[in-house]
Amino acid sequence: MMQAVQQTATEPVDRARLIARLEKILPADALLHQTEDLRPYECDGLSVYRQLPMLVALPESIEQVQAIMRLCHALRVPVVARGAGTGLSGGALPHAQGVLLSLAKFKDIVAIDVEQRTARVQPGVRNLAISQAVSGYGLYYAPDPSSQIACTIGGNVAENSGGVHCLKYGLTVHNIRQLRVVTVEGDLLTIGGSGLDAAGYDLLALMTGSEGMLAVIVEVTVGLLPKPEGAQVVLAAFDDVVKAGSAVGEIIAAGIIPAGLEMMDKLAIQAAEDFVHAGYPRDAQAILLCELDGTHEEVAEHIARVRDILNARGATEVRTAKDEQERLTFWQGRKAAFPAVGRISPDYYCMDGTIPRKRLPEVLKAISEMSAEYQLPVANVFHAGDGNLHPLILFDANKPGELERTEAFGGRILELCVAVGGTITGEHGVGMEKIDQMCVQFQSAELSQFHAVKAAFDPLGLLNPGKAVPTLHRCAEFGAMHVHHGELPFPELERF
């Protein structure tokens, strides 16, 4: 499972011939094919999957990307695009017989239009670098995935990345205006426009979150927002996660859309507190961090209402950050939750399901029961506002069988998310990791429709083959192992 990842079979190309052809397109230092040079590319942020690519191409111009795509298309060579490699679902896992196309050299912010509040950037620009570049104009780019210091905007578009402010400010798909993409045949297309919409089908939405399966993104125009006048955060502690969950519902019902609304359970609180000393109450069963932003007047009004709700819902403690420093400290604990868990366990595995928020109590209870069953502790971090749950399973990869148990446990959590009306991935993508759970989320007709969409862009299946959408045969095999309610999914398929 760890090393041998099943990939779509394509006729292996003659490696030497491909290198010779690519050397005519790229300078020598932009082409890597020695094993030691390939090693840094063997995995992305999900390091349990590893695979060396046949070679790595590092183009620096759109023309070079086009030439590479034309060549690979002509020779039927798979291409896997890669940004910063921070993805958590194995979406940029290389293909053994393919080219790993790194967009790392596309690092320029091409243009900033302050009046229109847009920035046209190359795909290798880091998420945070956009906000930093426009900060002087009082603007920022809203989506803020936790890896924003390192992850690139091209990867954000490919994964439709989120962050802690999604409920109010949306995902990547809500915050981009235009893309330039190179098709599998090497054609350059502009998708979207300078206005707020474009003629024809919404290809901008279709490209966003398509995980490198449809085209290669070579330029992104993002929309920018004025920085809020003020932001304030309230920390509330609860002796019961159910109470914390119902407080979240009450805040929403009061007509307030918080900029961020995060929940952490006891293990996550303690790990974070021990790590960064954010002032979290170590004995609480759950804490909520509720951030309000907007004009000073709006923030003041909303903070007062949120405090009332939290107290009325039985919070054992409600603390408003007394100044900007404390606000950042409160957030630091949350933002450090993953590395904090990393300190108390040799390894951890981050899951990414979304559930209807009201189902939280039963989901947490079921996760806790599974934790006992698999004998693996879990810390829960939850984007409570939008229902996106990140259970962190603690394990030790050096102990025989623990990774396999972790993966089985994680799969069960995702299937639970589907069962309660949610989804197997809120923001990390399917990639390689959740490909089997796609068989749980979707029926064969829907998966076939996805394959038809893929074929409309990439008839030969050369872009990121084997990711994001499972074959029906794969689902049949997976289904044979996971019989639900006595019914086999995909009954129309032969079993192997």
């Binding site: 949306g170 206005g195 919404d202 920085k227 009004e301 559930i355 009201k358 939008d386 809120g426 409309a456």
Partner: protein, 353 residues
């Protein structure tokens, strides 16, 4: 009224596929004027009605495509919530399905998002007469391609919408409309200056004479913003924005062809003869003109945007901005992927689709 005719619709589609009969997907006919001339046998979706799930605290509503838009909005209003994209109805019979199929959004669009931004999930019948479900009822969901948003604005050319799940938002506590008389350049400059500030602006309109601005938010926020924005309060602010959204504003009482230009908001006033009305901070401009279509489209394209012949009595031959060859090829392949027999609303968007 709850009524599920999904399987009957599926049967009709199956028959149409078998007989290669083009279908004209019909809801309330309120947008029958929009797009190229409908052709084919009518597939009535209006009877497929009902709000199937509404969870105010989950910020989501799911309803069958034939559900009257008015019913959806009234239901949300009873919980102090709303469709934040403020869709135009263009008639009492408007349905949710038609609204999503057309992806039409009202004055709040630049400040809250378009119809497509609020679509969380759909159930559709594809061109194999299969009922498929994409997305869902949760805010964050990146499993599979975003087919629900692809359906939004596809004018029914990719499938029959059966059910739509939408993100909803709370209604603002307070709304206030302000107006001030200004020349067009000053109005555009002011709009962009405001756009860079964290102000609770939720609607903007310039009619050639005065700039009208709507503020939405908490009482304190609106009062504070009013002092910064200035202008005179319009008492009947609500009905002003409704008349604008529904094209009942006097500007739209015009016999000439009506164009919608979607442009970079910073585009200077275009040198095209006719009457102009600006919305969306300058990004949506209405033009009533007799100028040749090619002239209008070229000007829109020059500005990085596109022009739609929104309403026209004379001809509906070419409505939407032509696509580049590369994009049209992709569109045709997508059409083929969803509707291989080519039966759904053929030619409603482009002759090739």
């Amino acid at each position: 009224m709850l009524n599920d005719i999904g399987t009957q619709l599926q049967d009709r589609v199956r028959d149409a596929v078998a007989a290669a009969t083009p279908l004209c997907i019909a809801g309330g006919d309120s947008k029958a004027f929009y797009g190229r001339t409908p052709v084919g046998e009518r597939l009535e979706v209006r009877e497929h009605q009902g709000i199937v799930n509404y969870e105010p605290t989950e910020l989501v509503i799911s309803a069958r495509a034939g559900t009257p838009l008015r019913l959806v909005e009234d239901t949300l209003a009873s919980e102090q919530q709303m469709l934040a994209f403020e869709p135009p109805h263009f008639g009492d019979a408007a349905t949710l399905g038609g609204t999503i199929a057309c992806n039409l959004s009202g004055p709040r669009r630049p400040y809250a998002g378009a119809a497509r931004d609020f679509v969380l999930g759909t159930r559709v019948i594809n061109g194999k007469a299969e009922i498929l479900a994409f997305g869902g009822e949760v805010m964050k969901n990146v499993a599979g391609y975003d087919v629900s948003r692809l359906m939004t604005g596809a004018m029914g050319t990719l499938g029959v919408l059966l059910e739509v799940s939408l993100k909803i938002l709370p209604r603002p506590d307070v709304e206030l409309t302000l107006a001030q008389a200004l020349p067009v350049q000053d109005a555009l400059e002011l709009l962009h200056a405001w756009g860079r500030l964290p102000l609770p602006v939720s609607g903007t309109c310039y009619d050639g004479r005065q700039l009208v601005v709507r503020l939405s938010g908490t009482a304190g926020a609106v009062t504070a913003a009013r002092a910064r924005i200035g202008g005179d309060t319009i008492d009947a602010g609500g009905s002003f924005w409704e008349s604008l959204r529904e094209h009942r504003h006097p500007f739209f009482a015009n016999e000439r062809p009506l164009w919608r230009l979607s442009l970079a908001s910073t585009t200077p006033p275009l040198e095209l003869a006719g009457d102009w009305l600006y919305e969306w901070g300058g990004a949506q401009r209405w033009l009533a003109t007799e100028e040749p279509a090619a002239t209008v489209r070229a000007a829109a394209q020059q500005a990085g945007g596109h022009a739609t012949l929104y309403r026209n009595m004379a001809t509906r031959e070419a409505v939407f901005q032509p696509l580049s060859a590369g994009l049209m090829t992709l569109h045709q392949r997508l059409k083929q992927a969803f509707d291989p027999a080519g039966i759904f609303n053929p030619g409603r968007m482009y002759p090739e689709l």
